[in-house]
């Protein structure tokens, strides 16, 4: 980040004409940097989604390869999935509230919404860990069949992303607390909120293809 900050925003030789435009230029440069950082992170997120698509493809190919073991119809509990979905959807909303709070320098909005987002995300992870532990306890661990290997890889990978997002969330709260609503902190907040919303989009695809289609007759 520091190398990027130090880089000259304009090619050498391109002079700024009037000092009264300097503030305007500075604001415009910050805006440009925000656009570049946001766009770069957007491209990363899309490549992350492409990585998930390979796991989705693997799961879809292997969903019937149960090797005589339990299928999704025997294992999945839609009540658990519904609560997980509600947690993640609400946390996506509160994450949006937090990013508005950060943009408008409202500490109560930012800290309150980030705390709620963390609690909802942690509840999601707790439910998922509980589900995984239950599956392993009833002999339906990732080693049971190709279907279960693909299931644990896909759902576990999303869970790892959410866990990483929770760590990032705490880091963002600490950074805002220590450094305030600086432009570079707000850029990181933009990336974090994009990441969190993208996780919810992946979860929509996940609960539909894995859980709902898994139990559909």
């Amino acid at each position: 980040m520091s190398a990027f900050d130090a880089a000259a925003p304009y090619p050498a030789g391109l002079e700024r004409e009037h000092p009264q435009h300097a503030a305007e230029h500075a604001a415009s440069e910050l805006m440009t940097k925000r656009i570049i950082v946001g766009y770069g992170f957007w491209v990363f997120l899309l490549s992350d989604i492409i990585m998930f698509s390979t796991f989705f493809a693997t799961y879809a190919v292997l969903v019937d390869a149960t090797a005589g073991g339990p299928s999704g119809q025997d294992l999945f509990d839609l009540r658990n999935t519904a609560i997980e979905t509600a947690c993640l959807l609400l946390s996506s909303f509160t994450c949006g509230v937090a990013s508005i709070g950060a943009q408008t320098n409202r500490g109560s909005w930012f800290y309150g919404a980030m705390t709620v987002t963390f609690i909802l995300g942690a509840a999601f992870i707790a439910l998922e860990v509980q589900e995984f532990a239950g599956l392993v306890a009833q002999g339906a661990g990732p080693t049971r069949s190709a279907f279960l290997s693909a299931f644990f890889t896909l759902v576990g990978c999303h869970g790892l992303h959410v866990s990483a997002g929770l760590l990032w969330l705490l880091t963002m709260m600490a950074q805002v607390f220590a450094k305030g609503y600086r432009a570079d902190i707000l850029r990181r907040m933009l990336c974090f909120s994009l990441f969190w919303h993208a996780l919810d989009i992946i979860w929509v695809a996940l609960f539909t293809t894995v859980y709902l289609m898994g139990v559909a007759p």
């Binding site: 492409i50 909005w109 933009l190 539909t208």
Partner: protein, 134 residues
């Protein structure tokens, strides 16, 4: 670079993904409206999805298709109301990157399913394979 000419403000030719379109004199309470609409629509689509998955009211073979349509609609709601992807000229680059991502995702998923289903159809039944290995 044609979209550069289309924007009114030459200083801000593009919008970062996730940033709301600039509205003159917008308040934080107004900004939250977009998230509230998104939350409402997404909740509605989720509830319909969960209802459809277990209902016996509709023709059973149509359920996976209905679920896929509902999921794609909900992903669209998230993109528009949470990530604020628009069709405006300042969003052309964001939409192009998204379109390329969607293309690759579709190629990976449909390609895998297509190839693997053909291989399954053409594969010798498992008992005959076991016979050959003896």
């Amino acid at each position: 670079m044609s979209h550069f000419e289309q924007t009114n403000d030459p200083h801000h030719p593009d919008a970062a993904p996730g940033d709301e379109p600039p509205v003159v004199g917008h308040e934080a309470t107004e900004q939250i409206g977009s998230y509230l609409i998104g939350l409402g629509l997404a909740t509605l689509l989720t509830i319909v999805s969960f209802f459809i998955a277990r209902t016996t009211l509709v023709w059973q073979p149509s359920i996976p298709v209905a679920l896929a349509v509902l999921a794609i609609a909900q992903m669209g709601v998230h993109l528009v109301f949470f990530i604020h992807i628009t069709t405006g000229p300042d969003n052309v680059n964001n939409v192009m990157a998204l379109a390329f991502g969607v293309l690759i995702v579709l190629l990976v998923i449909t390609g895998s399913l297509w190839i693997m289903s053909h291989m399954n159809q053409n594969m010798m039944p498992m008992d005959q394979i076991m016979q050959m290995q003896r």
